[in-house]
Structure formats: C-alpha cells, structure tokens
C-alpha cells in the first residue's frame, strides 16, 4: 500500500493508514458503503427502483439466502460449513407442502422437524465422529435427495401445494402490501441469532471453538454438544428458509432451493465471516445477503442473462474477499 502513496506527504499517508485501520475495525461500514453504492447504481439504471416496490423485491429475494446464511455463519464460526442447507430447505418445504391438507400448524412443525433431524445427524457426524464437515454435509445432501425422491412416491405422495397460511407468510405482505411477512420472519431470526452470538454462553462457545478447539476443550467445554446444537440450529434455520420459499413459489418440487446453496455461503463470506472460524458477525452476513439481493435486482433491470449474472456474482465474491484481506493486512 505504501508504494502507491509514496509521493504523497507523510501526513496524508498516516491519514490513509488510520482510515484503513478504522475500516478494518468496522468492516460493516465498508459493506454498507458497497450496498449503498450498488443501490445508487441500480437507481441510475432504473429510476423506479428507488421505491418501496423496488426494495421489496430485493428484500424478498434476499430473505431465504439470509436465513440460510445465518446457519452458515454459525457453522463457519466453528470452522465448519453446511453444504446440505439447500437440500434440508427443500426437504422441509416438501414435507410441509405435503402435510398442508392437515393444516398449517402440522405442516410447519413437520417441516421444522425435518430440518432439526437432518441438522442433528450432521452434528453427530461432525461433533461425535469427527467427520470433516464438508464431507458430512455433502453426504447428507445426497442422502436427503435420495430419501425425498423415494418418499415422494410413497409416504409423501400427494399434495405439493403449500397451504394458504404458508403462502401468506412466504409471499404475502402486511401494511397494505408494503411489508412482506417473510421479511418480518427474517428480522425475528436476525434478532435471535445476533443476540445468541453476542450475549449468550453458547454464542461465545462458537467463537471459542473456531478460534482454538483444543484450548476450548481443555477449558471444560463439551465441544461435541456445542457442535451438535450448532448443526441442528443450521438445519432448523434452513427449514424456515425452505418453508418461506415454498410459500413464495407455491408449488414445491425437489429442485426448489438448490440454487440457494452457493449464495448462502457467498453471503456469509461477503459479510466477512472467516471460513476458518473464530471471526465474523451475523450483521455482516445480513449485509452480504442484501448485497446479493440488490445485485440480483440490478442485473434483472439490465436484462442480463443468467450467464452475466453468474459471472458478476462470482467476481463480486472474489473482489470483496480480496478487498477484505488487503484492508485487514494494511491495518
């Protein structure tokens, strides 16, 4: 960094260093900057975007990504990852849609149960048997796909339409269509997750486990219990995201949430959560999910095809991660 600004005065240099250091200490400010500039660019492209309807579209798109990325953030803090979130979400949505004729309560409870069970199985594999999280959750995704494909013809044959209540919370709005219910659900999830990470012993244990697993174990924490709970929680959150998505789309099939797997990882990464554990916040992840949402809106307005969308998506992940690393190093 210093070579770029060598001709400048020493005072300017120190100011830049101070700014960098401040930015490194407050990474979310940088993210908000990125988010605001993306919103402005989008507005320049499509003036109508700067309205309630425009933001509404972005938020609704970001909701399932953001909720899944909450699980991803929690697990990344422990140096883990969950590649089965998309399949858990799909499975939960499928179970919920199938039980829709029996009423919304049964449907939602069954959906959440699917999530918790699959997540707990992941947790047992990773926490108790020390299977690599990448492999464990990958295998779980395969197992779930197989299970639900065969169940679709047996115990879950029948309804694939979500019940009215699920459709309302997934796709409906309150306050005269201004505030989507799904965004409210996300806010509730966000409050819960942020409180848990910052204020509870379990949250601190997640950070500790990712930072130094040996020291954490030696200081008396039962790491397998922490991991079990973390993975179960990730499954639970994925199930919520899946049910909301089912409500938004209405009709559920087994490829419902597959496209959200990589964005859920990307949101956490963009939000500054370290994939090696021990550092990151859910606030950052929320901003990451919103950035992906705005990007989606922008590319839609531009009439960009899927090809361009994917290239931009990937480039943003690389660019922001690179930016983070260089800011952190120069500070």
């Amino acid at each position: 960094m210093s070579t770029d600004i060598a001709p400048m005065e020493a005072a300017a240099e120190s100011r830049v260093t101070t700014a960098m250091r401040w930015l490194a200490a407050h990474p979310n400010v940088g993210l908000i900057g990125v988010l605001v500039s993306l919103v402005l660019v989008t507005t320049a492209i499509e003036p109508n975007y700067l309205s309630l309807t425009g933001f509404r579209g972005t938020a609704v798109f970001a909701v399932p990504i953001g909720i899944m990325a909450a699980g991803q953030t929690i697990l990344m803090l422990t140096a883990g990852i969950d590649l089965s979130v998309a399949m858990i979400a799909t499975g939960a949505a499928y179970a919920a849609a199938n039980q829709s004729p029996n009423g919304a309560v049964v449907a939602i409870l069954l959906g959440l149960l699917v999530g918790v069970l699959a997540g707990s199985a992941n947790g047992i594999g990773v926490g108790v048997f020390r299977v690599n999280p990448l492999i464990m959750t990958l295998a779980m995704a395969g197992i779930l796909l197989g299970l639900f494909t065969s169940w679709a013809q047996t115990i879950f044959s029948g309804a694939t339409q979500a019940v009215g209540f699920i459709r309302t919370i997934g796709g409906g709005s309150t306050l005269d269509g201004r505030l989507p219910w799904s965004v409210l659900v996300w806010v509730a999830v966000a409050v819960f997750v942020i409180y848990m990470l910052r204020r509870t012993g379990f949250g601190r244990m997640l950070y500790a486990l990712g930072d130094n697993p040996v020291a954490t174990r030696l200081s008396g924490a039962r790491s397998w219990q922490v991991l079990l709970l973390a993975y179960a929680l990730s499954g639970f959150l994925a199930a919520i995201a899946g049910i909301l998505l089912a409500g938004r789309i209405g009709n559920v099939d087994l490829s419902l949430a597959g496209f959200l797997l990589l964005p859920s990882v990307a949101a956490a990464v963009i939000g500054g959560t370290s994939i090696f554990g021990g550092s990151g916040t859910y606030t950052g992840t929320i901003l990451g999910a919103l950035i992906l949402g705005v990007l989606q809106s922008m590319l839609t307005f531009l009439g960009a095809g899927v090809a361009v969308q994917q290239i931009v998506y990937g480039s943003i992940v690389v660019a922001l991660a690179w930016l983070y690393a260089s800011i952190a190093r120069s500070a």
Partner: protein, 337 residues
C-alpha cells in the same frame, strides 16, 4: 543362537513392510475394494463382457479426471470448488468449436482448450497467492464465473465433435461400444505421469511440502507461490480433460450441467481415495480408484435391484461410514504415538 537368527530376520523386515503398508495402505485398500466390486458385479449380472467394462470405464472418466484435479490441488494445501465449473466450461467450448470440424482440427482444439484451462486456473492460483484469501472462497467465486462463461459461450445444449475424437475417449465413434482400451489408456498415461512427477521430482514433491507445512516449505527454500500456481494449473488441465471426456461421451456440449455437483463428487472421491483435506497427504493413484468406485456404485446397486433413489442414500451413508472409520483409525494412531 540358532533360534535367534530367524528372529532377527523378521525383526529387520517387518518395519519396512509395515512402513509400506502405513504409507500406501489406504490406496491399496481402495484398489482392492474396486477389484472386489468388479468381481461382485460380474456375478450380479448375467453377462459381464467388454461392453459392460467399457460402459463403466467410459462413464467414470469425468469423475476420475476431476478427482485427480482435486487431489493435486488438495495435496498442495488448497481446494478448488471451481473444477466442476471448469468441466462445464470446457465441455461447451470444445463442443462449440469442434462442430463439423475434421479430426485433426478437433484434436488441435482439444489441446488448445487444455492449455487454456491450465493457464486460466493457474491464474486463479496466482490470485489466491497474491490476495491470501482462503482457496475455498476464491474458487467458490470461480465456480460461478466458469459456469456463467459456459452459458455465455453456448446458451443452449448443442455443438458437436468429430467421430475420431469420440473414439479417443470412448473407444467408439458413437460414444458407447465394446472397446474399453482407449479410455483405460487415457486414464493410465496422464495419471502415471502426474503420479511420477509428484512422487519423484523436485518440483512435484514441493506440492506435498507446501501442503503439509507452507511456512516450513517456504523457509527451506521452496518457491511456494510457484508450487501453488503449478498445482492449480495442473488441476485446471485435468478438469479440462474431464470436460473433453464429457464432450466425447455425449457428443455435444451442455451448459446446464450443474458444475457444483461434479465438484462435490470430486471432493468426496479424493477423501475416499485417502487424500487428507488438510493437505500434504495422499496420492492421485488412490483418487483414481475412488473416482471409479464412486461411479461404480450406481450400476452395482442397479444390478442388485436397488431403486436408484435408495442407491443415492446408500452412497451417502457409505461415504460417511468410510470417513468415520478413517477418523477412528486416525484417532487410534494418534493415541498410540
């Protein structure tokens, strides 16, 4: 005195044998598993001939190449989520430019595509090295980018290739036949080349060095940046081979293949093949066997009359089970030492 002589002989030979087993035990085990599966499969189906062998070898080609690509990169301490995207990108690029071309031209295109893929992925290695961002994050980005580029190059399934080119990978001008030898040669030659390079040469061994301890490797004078870029370039070349194999098997390009799934299978394959995700341990030879085993499960379970969806479940459970056993073995070894 006479009684101790054989005692000494066995004592001096056992450690060498044990050391070999400790080093290559997992790889040997995976190959034995593959042999056992083949024998079992031959008893399961009424006719086990050249056609069946050819089908299995041909169709496991993409996964085998991807497993080798992933193995080289993971041994060097990285991980490349983009290999599946590279497969799709090469598949469509090759199919688009090979359409209606004569055999010689398709061969030239294939070579150029492999070189291009190596350069592109080597560039990814360079970015990882300069930015010091974790490999998994950068390559998550490249997975998107490659898949997007594939869609830009060929928006809809299509394209084509020459009959001769299809023969190179599949032993048949229509992509499926009774001659497994071309595919076997196409696996053995590049894989042995890479295995020899990684096991015997200075530059190849530096991949193991940076994978097991990057700082120590750097301090002992290894050019860590060059080793990392080389690993990614070779990984890119093998991912390109996988893409070419798909082109040869299908005879066309398909941008709608989900590259991510291929990536995930390649990771599963190398772990089953004895490559440690932490880097520095394992070999491409084991990854080859594991790639075939993973593919082989499908026809075996079908032959056993298991419904394909169950096969998916069994496959997942098997991977987890193998990992649990590996974890327990590792734990026992740590306790003992």
């Amino acid at each position: 005195m006479t009684a101790t002589t054989p005692e000494i002989i066995t004592a001096s030979t056992t450690p060498g044998w044990q050391r070999w087993l400790r080093r290559h035990g997992w790889t040997t085990g995976v190959w034995l598993l593959l042999v056992a599966m083949t024998i079992w499969y031959s008893t399961l189906i009424p006719r086990f001939g050249a056609f069946e062998v050819s089908t299995i070898v041909n169709n496991s080609l993409p996964l085998v190449y991807l497993a080798v690509a992933q193995a080289v990169i993971v041994i060097a301490g990285g991980i490349d989520l983009g290999v599946g995207g590279m497969l799709v990108l090469v598949n469509v690029t090759a199919a688009r430019f090979m359409l209606d071309q004569p055999f010689g031209m398709t061969l030239l295109i294939a070579v150029l595509v492999v070189i291009g893929a190596a350069a592109l992925n080597g560039g990814v290695g360079w970015v990882i090295n300069v930015s010091r961002v974790p490999d998994i994050v950068i390559t998550l980005g490249t997975l998107f980018i490659y898949q997007g580029m594939a869609l830009a190059i060929l928006p809809n399934p299509g394209g084509g290739t020459s009959d001769g080119f299809r023969w190179i990978f599949t032993g048949s001008e229509v992509g499926i036949g009774r001659n497994p030898w071309p595919a076997i040669v196409m696996i053995i030659v590049p894989v042995l080349l890479v295995a020899w390079w990684m096991g015997k040469t200075r530059s190849g061994l530096s991949l193991y060095a940076i994978g097991s301890n990057r700082t120590a490797a750097y301090l002992s004078g290894i050019n860590a940046a060059r080793a990392k870029i080389t690993a990614y370039a070779i990984g890119g070349a093998f991912a390109a081979m996988a893409g070419l194999a798909v082109t040869a098997i299908a005879g066309r390009g398909n941008p709608n293949i989900v590259g991510g799934n291929f990536t995930l299978n390649s990771v599963a394959a190398i772990v089953l093949g004895g490559v440690a995700l932490t880097g520095g341990i394992g070999s491409v030879i084991g990854a080859v066997a594991a790639g075939i085993v993973l593919f082989f499960l499908n026809p075996i379970l079908t032959a056993m009359g298991v419904d394909p969806n169950r096969a998916q479940i069994i496959r997942g459970l098997l991977i987890v089970l193998v990992m649990m056993v590996a974890g327990l073995l590792e734990l026992r070894r740590q306790r003992r030492s």
